[in-house]
Amino acid sequence: MRKMFSVLHYEYKMQFKRLVTWGVLLVATALSLLDNFPSAGNLARLEFLNEPAYFVYRIVSLDSLVLLFGLMFLLAGRIPIDTKTGMKSLLMSSALRKWQYVLGKLLSGFLYVFTIQCIFLLLNTTIYFIAAPFRISLIECIVPLVKAIFVSLVPTSLFVSFCSIALPGMIDIRLFYILAAILFGFNATYVGSAEAMPFYLITSGDLVRLIWVHPRWPFVDMGNVIANGFFLVGSSLVFGSLLFLKHKFWRSE
């Protein structure tokens, strides 16, 4: 267990030291503020921007997609780079076991994406809270934030981190980029509607309707919510476990 935590700690710390991480966070924050800053123009353009719940909903369903896409690229090389630099062979020759290496990588990736997403959401909400030209109570911001953490940040972080770390460990990293770009592209082209959203969307699936619903269509289809959640969590666990099942991935034990 201690060795697994060593891998986790190293990976987590190393990711935060990369300048690109902060660059991606900065770009995503700048974009989301351009889109959602409570200025007179944006308030006139977005009907519900004066509701903190809508603001949080918009951030996690739309703007976090750019952040997740960037993080996906940053995480995808974690296993291939160990193979390329020979680090994996060195680790395999030590007493480190397969499950310790794989679990350390997967969990550090999850914690990394989750932390960056939390910073992104908190930063945006704090700016919104301070800059809003109308009164907002603190509780109005905290409730959707807590909801967003559980219904969106946890499953999307799990999905992006596990897929980005596990899949390039088994297939060509460039094929992974193509597949991920198609999925993210689909997500980007979907606009919110009263209809049920496809279950395979990452950030704008029906799960985010638990944060905010349009007042004219206040119905939430729990079947679709569960399908979306099941897709995100289920596929992450499946992809994560594929690394454990691949015999050639590590020395025989």
């Binding site: 991606v24 896409f69 460039r174 980029y177 592209g185």
Partner: protein, 211 residues
Amino acid sequence: MKARIESEVKIFGINFFIVSAAFTVAMIVLSIIAGDLLDFYPVSFEVIFPFFVTIVVGEWGKTRADSNFDIIAAQSKSLFKWVLLRYIIAFAISSLFAAFSMAGASIMRYEMPIWELIVLYFPPTFFLSSLCALLGIICRQEHTATLVCGVIWLIILLTRSLLRFPGVEYVYLFIRFAGDQNNIWLWNKGIVTLAGLSLWCVIYWKCKRVD
């Protein structure tokens, strides 16, 4: 020249051809099963395929991230020629797969002539892949060029609402996908191609500085 092209193709490796062929087949299958709700041609050849070519240029046709870059920069007569040749090969082969996909999709569901498909496909592909080639010359770290181009591609997809501002439709990369309400898409494609060419001026300047 033939030997150099063969050598570049060898460097690309077999994975490139397997991935490209699989992707092409997937697009043809999508053209059959997509149905009428999906505006298939703009989505496939104006949005998805250009990014595929960008990934090819950034990942298989890497330049500064190539481990032999310093040796090539020190020994070759012109770095620009090497960068250009690698780009042309990556762009041409992946565009060949795009052409196969266009032909296959046209047989399955004919919606527009091939020449229109090529005009739809070329400018955004040329611009995004040229941007990737430029970033490939600037960034030493692997995958960074593709990452930056990917984020830009996604941002452009997410910011269709900016088309409400006057003039944006002339430079928006995926104009047919966004609807092209004022029928200016040919102007748009011309401007995007010019922007791609100007990126090559910057690449030339960067290479001259390294030379």
